[in-house]
Symmetry: C2
Subunit: 313 residues, 2 copies
């Protein structure tokens, strides 16, 4: 089934201890849609400037991502982000942010886009996310990402937007901040009470967890000896997660658990090289082999301990 993503399409300049790139394809909607494209038909809603050329569009086309709703502002420049990671690759240090055409981004959905049964509202201003949500009345599953900025400056609107979605996909710190509750389990309960049927929490090198009703599911991250560039890992995770659900058309909990694995698989590839480089040349065999590795690294036999002579009660 078709999957719609709304978010940023950008150029990134990234420097890590292992190298640098001066201008590469980036943005939340880019990472998301390339990742999701391995599993389903993807439509991207975003905005770019005149500097966004045939080469960039070709990347989307190669992955069969529909760019009909990728608005092009001829007199504008594409969103640009420059960041640096130190040896602690967990923290991005922003050196420069030029919103450019993204500053006035108003998502415009074609009739075809409005029919997508699966929707991912990438990290943009919550009022805009809600406007998109309201145009997708027949959606089967709507997921949302956000960030600390919106929790800080637009909490009320954000909570209202969250009330209208099915799944929230955010990181550990954001979940605690959003719920104003340091304990993650209590934070999850509070957030789920607002309406979503599931909360997916990204924990970086510690993996990911999903709260759905009374059910809890948690997985480790794929063990990587070298993380090259973590930019876009979260959106790549979300792309694998939503892409798998849309591709299989399922939204039951068992499917969501497998979607968590596919999300983690995609994110683990994403960070192995700069930007979208690794994901761009991924194969299905690589994806499925790493999916199987997740089973191997989490499997144990369910054999309870047999009471023996030590029983004291």
């Amino acid at each position: 089934m078709s999957l719609l993503v709304v978010g940023s399409v950008a150029f990134d300049a990234v420097e890590t201890p292992f190298g640098k790139r001066e201008k590469m394809l980036g943005g939340s909607a880019t990472h998301f849609s390339l990742s999701a494209s391995f599993f389903t038909d993807v439509r991207v809603v975003g905005v770019v400037g005149s500097d966004f050329g045939a080469e960039e569009i070709a990347v989307f086309k190669r992955h069969e991502v529909n760019t009909d709703d990728l608005e092009r502002v001829p007199e504008g420049k594409t969103f640009f982000w420059r960041g640096r990671y130190d040896y602690d690759l967990n923290t991005a240090h922003t050196l420069d942010t030029q919103l450019n055409v993204f500053a006035d981004f108003k998502p415009k959905l074609s009739a075809e886009s409005k029919k997508s049964p699966f929707v991912f509202l990438g990290n943009i201003q919550p009022d805009l996310q809600r406007e998109v949500r309201e145009q997708m009345q027949d959606a089967k599953l709507v997921a949302l990402d956000t960030m600390n900025l919106w929790i800080d400056i637009a909490r009320e609107s954000l909570v209202k937007t969250i009330e209208g979605v099915d799944i929230l996909i955010i990181n550990d710190a954001e979940a605690r901040q959003l719920a104003e509750e340091p304990n993650l389990i209590r934070a999850a309960r509070k957030i789920l009470a607002w309406g979503p049927k599931a909360l997916v929490v990204k924990r970086g090198e510690y993996g990911a967890a999903m709260f759905a009703g009374d059910s809890y599911f948690a997985i480790p991250a794929y063990p990587l000896e070298s993380v090259f560039d973590p930019t876009g890992a979260g959106d790549t995770f979300a792309g694998g997660f939503m892409g798998y659900l849309a591709g299989s058309g399922a939204t039951d909990e068992a499917a969501m658990r497998r979607a968590m694995i596919f999300g983690s698989v995609m994110a683990s590839f994403n960070v192995e090289e700069f930007g979208t480089e690794r994901v761009q040349r991924l194969t299905y065999d690589e994806i499925n082999n790493r999916f199987r590795s997740f089973k191997q690294m989490t499997h144990f036999e369910e054999i309870p301990f047999e009471r023996n002579a030590r029983v004291r009660q």
Copy 2:
């Protein structure tokens, strides 16, 4: 099979945001042996002072822990630790440490103790750990814990001690510091090259991981809404881990994976109340129910993604 533990037996004074205790039974060997006692016969090697009374000994006795090698120094006082936890329960703030009789602790092993096939060398000076190890020539499985202090001031001796054990059970930060390598996977490979067949890494609220040869196993922590007192969680984990292995007599990888779960189960109970209070009144049903919860919260079906119309390679 019998399990020997060498380590501290202490009195703890602990204050957390949820309450306080002025003097309660503590120490690494205490937490370890109570936890392990649910699975196997345990013998504790340690030292206490004259203030260590019948009430404390009775706790060990009730759990059938053999205290023949728990040395009593009539003119001395028991090791005392006072600590405080803030809302971030991950960090213990030490307010007072009185080593007392523990300062001159020299483990003395009876002939019976030397025959224990399973051994846990709790966190004491590495020369002492090695002396104990050398007296246990017929041991089937020897595990070791340590801390940042020994990595800082006795690295050479510690590495030599590690070369002679089967399993190292330490936390995340200790593994990285010990290997002088920020990436955990590379740190693990380096440590395993010294000799141990497995490295177990405790990650607090993020769970635990095990590196054994080329195999990697990782599990989340049990999700707790309130952590009351984290003191002794690591030793309680190690007690469940080693206790399960000794109790089942197995040391294969499948058993070690289940041991990781039982260790996590025991640690999750430990932190629910002060000191050893919760573990002291645990039942086998509680242990096995939580073991089953671990299966539920980590299980997913191994169904790879089927290539469909989207196949591009």
